[in-house]
Symmetry: C2
Subunit: 202 residues, 2 copies
């Protein structure tokens, strides 16, 4: 049976990575991991859908129990990806999608080098700034910090396997699907099993 793969999406706030990830879920055998966070819900965010909103105590307990695939503190808030469910879904043949910050993504790549890291980019910084302003959830100072962080993160782009420029959303989704499809055809990690299959036949 096909083994699922781990696809990790990162990118600046308002890059559209969340929308892309939710669209990818419409594919069969695809599962989106929901992170734990200690931060407050933003308007429209639902517990169990966008995040599991937990207390600092609950978060610390999970860290102690080695229950995270990755965890990180970002802008004073804690985030973590529960380990158990992700591994179970992959073992059941499902692709697991994570939408996490760069710190967490790089932790994952270190622990699971076969994980596929995809960085979602805005077409430009100007466009990113416009999108965040339109959302109206952050003041100019916060936006300036975001721009600085984004530029720093883009500087580490090489640590990711793929980049995805979200100019046209539909095109970005198609490209994300193509990456997932292509990754299932990589010989790396699969060649030996295929060779055995053909040899047995002979």
């Amino acid at each position: 049976m096909k083994h699922g793969k781990l696809f990790v999406f990162s990118g600046p706030s308002a890059s559209g990575k969340g929308t892309i990830c939710r669209e990818l879920l419409k594919e069969p055998d695809t599962w989106l991991s929901v992170s734990l966070t200690t931060r407050q819900p933003r308007e429209g965010e639902l517990h169990g859908v966008h995040y599991y909103f937990v207390t600092r105590e609950e978060y610390d307990k999970t860290v102690e129990e080695d229950g995270f695939l990755e965890h990180a503190e970002i802008y004073g808030n804690c985030y973590g990806t529960p380990k158990k469910y992700a591994l179970e879904h992959m073992a059941a043949g499902e692709d697991v999608i994570l939408e996490i910050e760069m710190q967490g993504a790089l932790q994952i790549k270190k622990a699971y080098p076969e994980a596929v890291l995809i960085f979602v980019l805005p077409p430009s910084l100007k466009e990113l700034r416009n999108r965040i302003r339109k959302r109206g959830t952050e003041n100019e100072e916060q936006i300036a910090v975001r721009m600085k962080t984004t530029l720093e993160e883009i500087g580490l782009l090489e640590k990711y396997d793929y980049f995805l420029i979200n100019d046209d959303l539909e095109e970005a989704i198609q490209t994300a699907r193509a990456i997932m499809k292509a990754e299932h055809c990589r010989t790396a990690g699969q060649a030996k099993a295929l060779i055995e299959r053909f040899k047995e036949e002979e």
Copy 2:
């Protein structure tokens, strides 16, 4: 401007790699390299479409002039990929598709590590044997040699980047397209240019 990439398709005779490559040409900005060969045309094969059918003297002259991207002798016949046109089309932003034997593909990978190698597999050896028999161009002895070579080649699958199982032709074409699309989003070789683009904006 986008720089084209080199996609090299190999696979046993009757794996369907030729059909897949011709379908991929329907994509915009895609160019199929036509090889030179000293072998005799098979029924239906056209000069300049499937191969350039040349004499041994013409072939040797191209080798001497360093005019091949790769060249190899297979089953007593010579094959080669003209260098000039492939490089020109890539520089013009077109993806170049090569349909060549494993020997040549591995030569290319050595000279151009950024080339993407895709091995087209039949769903099974039994199915491959059936397809060749149906074609009726080879006797049982020749078919047995092909099966042996195919099994040897599959043993070297790890040297390729991707495999493509041609069970359902339409699905195999879609997957080949996905691989090509995904490869254009690899950070490897592109991250630096992207970082510069965003930095300049700031």
